[in-house]
Symmetry: C2
Subunit: 204 residues, 2 copies
DNA sequence: CCTTGACTTGACCATATGGTCAGAAATTCC
DNA sequence: GGAATTTCTGACCATATGGTCAAGTCAAGG
């Protein structure tokens, strides 16, 4: 009877190192493009040792995706039906942009997955994301019906928020190349622009 | 002296079939994820025969990318400094959305490339895209200075247009899953929503 | 110190993959 | 029809890759 004892410090440390390395590699190359050797090297472990902590490449990827979904949905969950409509939407935009700035690799991991047809997370999307979006869309539609927001199809409004904010993580290379920036200063410019854009669009 | 004679019908037909198949595969799996066997099968050719027409996997990808850039930049080129500002921008939005609807694979090929750090097209971006964006941004800034457009940092305006329109191609799976659509009807809804969004944002 | 169990690794395997090559089949040209 | 040229293919190769395994190392408890 090997009952699972609490994670040892070594387990904790190495699992973290693996997931950190895997995030780096998967987000840059996609699932098929990533190799265990790359991940192992970045994690500072041997390949067999990787496979001591995770049973397969799939499992590493699955662990990352699982941890990702919650973080990715939370900003929308926080949209408060009781708040002031325009400010609630703007706060959501800011939270999403924040994620792009602070967790660009997670954003790209997600983008890679969707781009490739979402084979590993389609059920999570229809099972979790869709209901949440429908719920919040109803809230937004109500605000619009009450005249507290200018009318705009709520689903497409949400899509546009996802698109404009995630763009700064997913297309980071392009954004930097076009702006000619090295640093992250464009994020505050982006926030300013997006806040103006959505305020004008949504103020009744 | 084998001087290159004009392409035969067979060459024409097979090269096209290969590029068509490669577009399908590269756009779905990225460069590293795609395999010559997949491309060969989709093109209805044997792998050695593929390599009779193109010297390497790289070359096939390069041929696709080269053909892509022009199509991708043209809609922005058409932005006319002599036109009516708001309508010019809206026409640009419509053209970009049109591309997402009609050439989603090309959009995803591009997205894959950028996501993975744009190793094969970064120079094209800084060499062609950036100057074009800077030029058109100047036009837009001028319109804003003249009071013919509401002010908004032009580069970020353009980013937002790219993001919102390409989203419908790149994140197609997610869009469909959230909306629950099978068909393409959401494209006309998207156009309506984006036109409203940018009209409100930009009308002085 | 020594046993126990967690941790680590070199060597290895089967398969996939990009690419080559000699020659066969088709096509074109005279 | 037959030579010349283009098109095509089976067999093959070197390397990369996900994964296994037996045996080793190491840390902690007794």
């Amino acid at each position: 009877m090997t009952r699972p004892r609490a994670q040892t410090r070594i387990q904790q440390k190495n699992s973290e190192a693996i997931l950190e390395a895997a995030l780096e590699v998967f987000s840059q190359s996609g699932f098929r493009g990533a190799t265990l050797d790359q991940i192992a090297e970045k994690a500072g472990l041997s390949k067999p040792n990787l496979l001591y902590y995770f049973p397969s490449k799939e499992a590493i990827h699955a662990a990352l995706i699982a941890g990702l979904l919650k973080v990715w949905l939370d900003p929308l969950r926080e949209l408060d039906a009781g708040g002031e409509p325009v400010e609630e939407i703007l706060a959501y935009v800011r939270r999403k942009l924040q994620l792009s700035r602070d967790f660009p690799r997670e954003s790209r991991l997600f983008a890679n997955e969707i781009l490739q047809g979402a084979p590993r997370i389609l059920e999570a999307i229809t099972g979790e994301l869709k209901p949440l979006v429908d719920e919040k869309s109803a809230v937004i539609a109500k605000w619009m019906a009450e005249g507290r927001l200018a009318p705009l199809e709520p689903h497409h409004l949400i899509f546009s928020i996802w698109a404009t904010t995630q763009h700064y993580a997913d297309f980071d290379v392009q954004v930097r190349a076009v702006l000619g920036h090295e640093d992250d200063r464009h994020f505050s410019q982006a926030e300013e622009a997006l806040v103006i854009l959505y305020r004008r669009t949504l103020t009744p």
